[in-house]
Each structure stands twice: as C-alpha cells, then as structure tokens.
Point group: C2
Chain length 316, copies 2
C-alpha cells in the first residue's frame, strides 16, 4: 500500500493540484491567482464585502475512517465551512485547506479526503485556491472559506428584533438520528442558494447555521441580539418517518431535533410582508417552517419542555 | 495547574476574544464584522483584490515547548502567514486561526500561543477576526491570513523575466544557525512594508518569501517564470559575525545561507531604473542586496558550488 511518505509532501500536493485543476475546466470567475503562489488572489465586485470563516475536523474527534469514507469526510469538512458562508448570505469565492497527517497515512486516504473536498468545491462552485500540507501525529483538516456579500447585507446573528418570526430551512434531527443508529452521517448540503436569497429579502433579520443544534444556536442569536425567543416544539420540522425511526432506535425525537447538531440548516428571523413560510419557501428554494417568535426580554428560550429547560438550554 | 478542559472550549474562546479585543482599542479599518458570528466580514477598496494564504504549525514537527515559549510559537505561526502576504505585496486585513489541542493542555500554554498571535497581530496591524477550537491529540495551529492589494499589482512568482536582477532583503542563514546551535529561533519579522513598497514599483518582477531556503525558493520562481537564474554566492548577505559563529558551531555558512530556511526575507527580481540595490533599500525601508541575474533558458540555478549542485538544488 502506498503511503504519504512514499510520494512526499510535494508529490501529494501535485496530485491534489491536478485533481483540483481537472475539476474546474476553466478558472472560476473571481479567482485571479489560484494554487501555486505564496497566496491566492480573489476579486470581489466594487459593491461587495469579503466573508471569511474557518472550521476544522480532527481524526478520532470529528471523524473516524472505520465508519466513514475519506471522501465523505472531505465533503463534510468543506460543507461545515460553506454552511457558515450560507448563514452570512454569501456567495462562495474559494477555500484553502491546511491538512496535517502522519507519513504512514495511506495515500488513498489522503487523496480520498481531497477528492471529497473537490466534489463539494465543484458542486457549490467554491474552488480550492491554496493549501498547506504538514506532517502530524493525526489527520487534521483545517479549512478557511471565502465568500462575497453585498455591502452591509451580510446576515448577522445580532439582527433579530422583537416581533420577528423564527424560521428554519429543511428538517432537523436527521444527522443526529443517523449517528444514534450507528449509520454514516452524509455530508450536509450547505444552504448557499437559500442564504443568498435571504440576504436579498428586505424583511430578513438574524441568521445562523445549525451546527451545534437548534437550542444552542438559537441561544447564540438571542445573546447576540439581546432578545428572548419563544419556540413551538410541535412545529419543528423533522424528516419523514422520524418519530417511528426514533422509537425503534430508542431515541427521544425532540432531543435530536433540538440538540442533535450537524443539520447545517439555516435558522433565521424575518419580519413584515416577507415573514411567511410559503413565500420564504418559494424565494429560498427550500422548505421553510415557522417555529416561533422573537420577543423583548433577557436572552432566553421559552416553550421548551421542562426536561430541556433543566439542561441549561433555556438560560445562558 | 489549570488545563484547557477546566475552562472548556467556550471558556478558552472567551478569554482569547477578550485578549484580542483589548489589543485593538477600536475595530481596525476594513473589519466590518469581527469575531463572534458565523464568519467575519472584511472590506477592501473598490480598486483592490483580496489575498488569502494558509500555513500551519504542528507540535513536535514545527515547534517544541521544551525549547521555545508558547508566545514565540504564536508569533512564529502568524509570521509565517504574514510573510506570504508580504511576498504578494499585500497590506494585511485580518486572520483566522483553527487551533486543536488535547484537553489536558495547560491553559497557560494555549493562552501563551494566543498572546503570541495577538502580539504580532497588533504589531503588523492584522487583527484576529475569527477562529475555531477543537479537541485533538496534539497541538496544531492552522492560520489563514487575508490581505488586500491593488488590482493586478500582486507580486507573483511567475513574473521574473530574462534580464531581471535578483535581490534579497535583510540577511540569510540566521534562523538556521540559531537552530544548529540549539538556540531559540525568534519569530521572524515579516517584510510587510517592504512588500507593499515593492508592489508600487514599476520595475518589480517576481517575488517569493524565503521560508524553505534561498535555493529551493528561487527554484520555485524559476519554474513558475520558466527562466534560469545565475547567483553569485559571494554576495549572499549574512548576519554580522556569521562566518565565525558558523565555524565555532561546525556549520557550513554557505549551506545555511542557501538552504537554511525560515529567514522570511523577500527574494525578488527587478528591472530597469528601479533595479538598483541602494534605491531599493531606500524605497523598501530594509537592506536590499543584489545577488544575481535572471537569464533565458530551462529552469535551473547557475553559480552554485559543486557540492550544492550535486544535491539537486540546481535542476528541478
């Protein structure tokens, strides 16, 4: 079996570069200088700002090759970053990856991760523009992704106001159920198009992506906006057959929907004429569900069953 | 002794955020949204492009707390990235850091690294705008830094042309000598002001920062520009007392100057009226030395003593 140390740092870089080049027939718009110099050069429009985020996956903590393929790990690593861009309402410009791995890592594993990154890079039009490979005792994949958003139109956590309705895209709890059943968690599909559509809406308020779970992430919005949220747990959208599958797996469906994490859906608030689930579903191109209301008051979440309130979800 | 797991991920983040906020009395220009949202938002001028780079340090590979303080490690981690921005001629906008560490890591160590990052952030006016903390089996510090450069003015490796003179800033081999003597390698001072001044010069050609050593990095320029370089090893600038110190340490001074690495000086080419060391020294605000000439031909370096040519430095 070929290992990273057999081809060396530069050998591995050359293979990943080749993979990245083949994935994009021509240089994507906005990339002035891509892989291969001291840094990449990206171009945004005169009326745009630059959005930057970073997120990392570490072997044995965030992934385990015994349970998922390198390709899925690569997709997940990029998806987590793209989801942050989506939550800001940004269009992707590109990403860089700093990967470290032991020299004994099978080459196929490293190339599989790169393949997964490039799958999602291509699908979401976010090209790999640079990177760094280092030796390390474990596999770690640290990504920074870049996007562009119209000046002053980035969707922020602090923008929720009393009277806003609270919405989520898609369904909640699916990733947590898959984990609970010992199934492979598929790479989420970051809601990039939905985030960009939301950033264009006059009535948009705060926005965050659901990486840690609804309760925790809504808590971030409440704290940043200094508001109180009331949610209706009966309305939380879950995947088809979710209750029955949870019962078979011995899981509490509400716990998974509230605190499961890794759903990578968008949670946002909206006001005025735009604050209607049907209209938002049409505009964002994904199912949108109204799940609650923002109220004045100290940061807290009302409407949680007592068993969650006791767990510290309610107050921060 | 307090450890990371005693304060937890959010406790450590809060402390680092506080440190970063205190370091910058007011939000630096260009940072529209800093730490605390899904992503940061940066602003560039309408006539600028965005420069992005990434570089990582891994414990036991790139640093060892037995030999250097956490603060120096933090400075070095940011310096490596800032040096890449310098080599593009960019002014810094900000950086993000993805740090992973075992829960048993002494809190003082993690905070020391953060302190070092923020020292250099403040000194080179490149604010921390976001980050990610993860549990891991070893300490890893992956940074992405962002800068801005006037459209079309980024200094590229591929811009060397036959007839250009070759220059370097500062001196070479100092970091390698310190390592050879078992001394602490101090955090380099990235040549940001020099890079920006060079990007404004009409006669500027290619540019690269010296992270791997002169011979290797000049090789990158030759390959990217498809040119041949002739260097005069007698002219390589070294620190004061270098030959004697090398002799005492039993090192080959030329080997350290040519292949030492981590000098983080700029190597660049220039042509026309601007291609004079005295003028460049004045304009760039740092000592500049002419060390050779770019010629037409297949990528190679001429002028190396036989013992280096044999080591593969000459041809790629």
């Amino acid at each position: 079996m070929e290992r990273i140390r057999d081809v060396g740092e530069f050998g591995l870089i050359a293979r990943i570069e080749g993979m990245a080049r083949r994935a994009f027939a021509r240089a994507p718009r906005g990339v002035v200088v891509g892989i291969g110099d001291d840094a990449a050069v990206l171009r945004v429009r005169a009326d745009e700002e630059v959005v930057v985020t970073t997120d990392a996956l570490v072997e044995g903590v965030h992934f385990d090759f015994a349970h998922e393929t390198p390709r899925v790990v690569g997709r997940r690593a990029l998806a987590a970053n793209l989801s942050d861009l989506a939550a800001m309402g940004a269009r992707p410009l590109g990403f860089v990856v700093a990967m470290s791995a032991p020299g004994a890592t099978p080459l196929a594993q490293a190339l599989g991760v790169a393949r997964g990154l490039i799958d999602w890079a291509r699908r979401f039009e976010c090209p790999l523009v640079g990177g760094n490979l280092a030796r390390g005792g474990e596999i770690s994949i640290a990504i920074s992704a870049f996007g562009a958003v119209k000046r002053g139109r980035a969707l922020l956590r602090k923008a929720a106001r009393s009277g806003d309705l609270i919405f989520v895209t898609g369904t909640l709890g699916g990733a947590a159920l898959a984990r609970a059943r010992g199934r492979v968690v598929r790479a989420a599909e970051p809601r990039l198009a939905a985030g960009q559509a939301l950033a264009r809406l006059r009535g948009a308020g705060a926005c965050i992506d659901l990486s840690d779970g609804l309760a925790g992430d809504l808590g971030h919005v409440c704290r940043a906006s200094q508001v109180r949220a009331r949610i209706d747990v009966e309305r939380l959208p879950v995947p088809r057959g979710f209750a029955a599958a949870c019962k078979r797996a011995g899981c509490d469906p509400l716990a998974l929907a509230l605190a499961g994490g890794e759903d990578y859906e968008l949670l946002f608030t909206a006001r005025g004429a735009d604050a209607r689930a049907e209209l938002l579903t049409r505009r964002l191109g994904v199912a949108v569900t109204e799940i609650g209301l923002i109220q004045a008051g100290r940061p807290a979440i009302d409407g949680l069953p007592a068993r969650f309130a006791a767990k510290g979800f309610r107050h921060f």
